[in-house]
Amino acid sequence: MVVGAQAREIDTVVIGSGPGGYVAAIRAADLGKKVVIIERDNIGGVCLNIGCIPLKALINVGHRYREATEETPFGLITSGATLDWQQTQNWKQNKVVHTLTSGVEMLLKKHHVEIVKGEAVFNDNETVNVLQEDGHELLQFNNAIIATGSRPIEIPTIPFGGRIVDSTGALAFTEIPKKLIIIGGGVIGSEIGGAYANLGAQVTIIEGLDHTLNGFDSEMTKPVLDDFKAHGGVIVTSAIAKKATQTDTEVTLVYEADGKEQSITGDYLLVAVGRRANTDGLGLNNTDIKVDSKGLIIKDDTMRTSVPHIYAIGDIVAGPQLAHKASFEGKIAAAAIAEDAQARDLHYSLPSVAYTQYELATTGETPDSVKVNHLDAKISKFPFVGNGRAISMDQAVGFVRLISDKSSNALIGAQVVGPAASDLISELSLAIENGLTTKDISLTIHPHPTLGEAIMDAAELADGLPIHI
């Protein structure tokens, strides 16, 4: 459908419907703006369709499968447990992903956000061209929010295709790999590797750095890596992937480690070496929007780009590529457009989680940042082996670690490794944002028996009056 050269006037256009874009669109609409959201693929972006959500679904299946097939110390024997992988995939796609993405579509409609399908390309600072299969539509906007997210980086010598897959491919395997090779031991590689290891795959991770799970310190990652190795996983660090060859049934990767060339063969190869911002192909060269050397759009802390009425959020701007960061930034951009008071990034802590066998979560300062910045801080750590709930769940692994300011005792950072770390970290972020002290935490009654008690215990430890240690 050719709408013609006459541009339609829209107050606010949002490009991309991931956790950054759809949240920004809804918030801007609620703040009184007329909003159009443009999406070339599926509503919900990477996170809902091919990222966080479907991967967490598979990780959950991995946990349950492992529980059902491993001996338990408490004597539960589920003999002959099997997994119907096709059903797993259907469930993940139809019950999990579809429920959420159609829910987001509903939300957008409910908040009167118009959805325009197609690929957005900027014509200039005021107009965007939406390319559709059978035509294009020109939209002239007063404000725009760019939230086009990111895509997997391809290693030129190891192009995607066949048995060489990106994360999207790895989530959609039609069978559980027997031998899975993963290039890249970051969070995505480690999460996918852990999930398939639990599902019975023999997983090898080839990592260029001297450690995996960058962003979490070795004290945190140790229980995860120990478990991974105990379940047949192999990690090769300081290794450079060179090239890969494949047949109908297998794929062989050549890499260099310990100064020698080595090779490994598996039935699938996942390349998870990072994600590139989707800023090329957006027509930014037709605008005055500035990008940095990595192709990330430069913005200020109201998310405003070098063109004042165009904002940028999520994976296409600096900072960790996280869904909750994208959403938070989306709300700021929407507020800025609506001249709302919340229009500035004033956060103190950005939590980050890895859904590995034992979950890793961090927020605010870390022991490393304390050292690097010479902060006068106190570190207190309470292990889950001292927590009744963790023991009763047979998951007494990991710890809660608090980092508090020495003079005021205010919490400035925290890490959790172990059961439900992804949920526990929220309490700690809340404490940091609100300037709570370790006293405030220890004076808060935590229900018993819960994993959260470990936070109270760690706080008491910081106050010098521990009960359970």
Partner: protein, 431 residues
């Protein structure tokens, strides 16, 4: 040789003053030019200096007493040297700092108001909840500068709100009755997480409170009318947004709506001279003023002050913004002089920064009109195209002396003010 030091004329035609505290006691030996007492005069606390060198043998009055110029204050036994120094230089301006007020009758829990207790933790952050940080940002306040009264040095919402009142020269008539060293503001009562300290019984008024109460007392007899109105200031909001960064970056000043309002009201005062006048009932005359000297009601922990921007009609908005900041700062640090508070011909009082809407301002001094500025609220309006839109409505309350100004004139003046505030471009053409 015995000398009697009498209450000097401490300037500004003042006939009497309160001895708020003695700085000497019987038996002290002092030299000429030593401060001997603090005297409260029309909201200013001044130190009076000794004209004599010698030993104090008697204090004629107790602290807290009102004395008239010429009343005996101190009996000296000394050499009477320095007697000729008795001139105005012996009255030194001293700050209205909290410790001055404290000396009289403050209780310990009230003493931290002027101290910056905000805790900055190791990584440079201030202990304040996200909503508090946002409020501070919204009000353009540097959180590290806000005195913290919360637990463990937390900056509370009330702290930021109160700080804003000082900082933006914002003030309100209603708040006068609640903000003082002894009575934390209403906001502090409402928002402070810790339970308010209840004080049954009687408390002496602070000197500043007395001065305000006295000034207000004399206004009760004036027959006033207050017209309430509201104006859509979307263009003004845009204008300020466009210029506030320039103001900050180029000139290092805070461009507030108050500065625009001062300019606009000054133009109104020019066009409607009745608003820039005084009534002399004795002579049955109207006194018109040539200059437009705009009083700005400024709140401080000690009470309400009304410094004056002289010739506001002839100053640029940037200059006015700068003067507002400077005057508010002087009020806050106590360096304000009575000279800076005199000669006002019309006054503006701002409740907007405290989120107030309409109120009934009370005329100041011998003036005949006062404008109360309320918040700018997002409200539904019907725009020029007859459609429902989100407006930015600024609330206005104009109180005037009905002896001189009738309702029609009052509203005409208010209409002109609205016109100026609704479009900065128009303001540019007119003022």
């Amino acid at each position: 040789m015995t000398e009697i030091f009498k209450m000097p004329d401490i300037g500004e035609g003042m006939a009497e003053g309160d001895i708020t505290s003695w700085l000497v006691k019987v038996g002290d030996t002092i030299t000429a030019d030593d401060p001997v007492a603090e005297v409260q005069n029309d909201k200013l606390i001044q130190e009076i200096l000794s004209p004599y060198t010698g030993q104090v043998t008697k204090l004629f009055v107790d602290a807290g007493t009102t004395v008239e110029v010429g009343d005996p204050l101190i009996e000296f036994d000394g050499d009477s040297s320095g007697e000729n120094n008795l001139d105005n230089s012996q009255v030194s301006q001293s700050s209205i700092s909290s410790n001055v007020v404290e000396t009289e009758n403050s209780t310990p829990q009230n003493t931290i108001i002027n101290e910056n207790n905000a805790v900055q933790v190791a990584n440079g952050r201030v202990l304040a909840m996200p909503s508090v940080r946002h409020l501070a940002y919204e009000k353009n306040i540097d959180l590290t500068k806000v005195p913290a009264t919360g637990r463990h040095g937390h900056v509370t919402l009330a702290d930021v709100e109160n700080f804003q009142e000082l900082d933006s020269s914002a003030s309100t008539q209603p708040k006068m009755s609640t903000t003082s060293q002894h009575e934390p503001s209403v906001a502090a009562y409402e928002k402070n997480e810790s339970a308010p300290v209840l004080r049954e019984g009687r408390q002496p008024m602070t000197p500043v409170r007395k001065a305000i109460a006295k000034a207000m007392d004399t206004q009760v007899a004036i027959p006033t009318v207050t017209n309430f109105d509201s104006v859509d200031v979307r263009k003004l909001v845009d204008h300020r947004n466009a210029f506030k960064e320039i103001a900050r970056d180029d000139k290092g000043l805070r461009l507030t709506y108050l500065a625009y309002a001062v300019k606009a009201l000054a133009a109104v005062a020019k066009k409607f001279p009745e608003l820039n006048a005084s009534v002399d009932m004795k002579a049955q005359e109207i006194v018109y003023h040539d200059d437009v000297n705009m009083g700005i009601a400024v709140d401080s922990p000690a009470g309400l002050f009304v410094p004056v921007i002289k010739n506001a009609d002839r100053k640029s908005i940037f200059t006015i913004a700068q003067e507002i900041t400077d005057l508010a700062e002087s009020v806050r640090d106590g360096s304000i002089t009575s000279n800076q508070m005199q000669g006002g011909t019309i006054t503006i009082s701002n409740l907007g920064s405290a989120r107030g809407t309409w109120f009934t301002p009370i005329i100041n001094g011998k003036e005949v009109a006062i404008l109360g500025l309320g918040s700018i609220l997002k409200e539904p309006i019907v725009n020029d195209d007859g459609e429902l839109a989100v407006g930015r409505n600024m609330k206005l309350s104009l109180t005037y002396d009905h002896r001189l100004i009738d309702g029609m004139l009052g509203q005409s003046a208010l209409n002109y003010l609205k016109q100026l505030l609704s479009d900065p471009a128009y303001m540019l053409m007119e003022v």
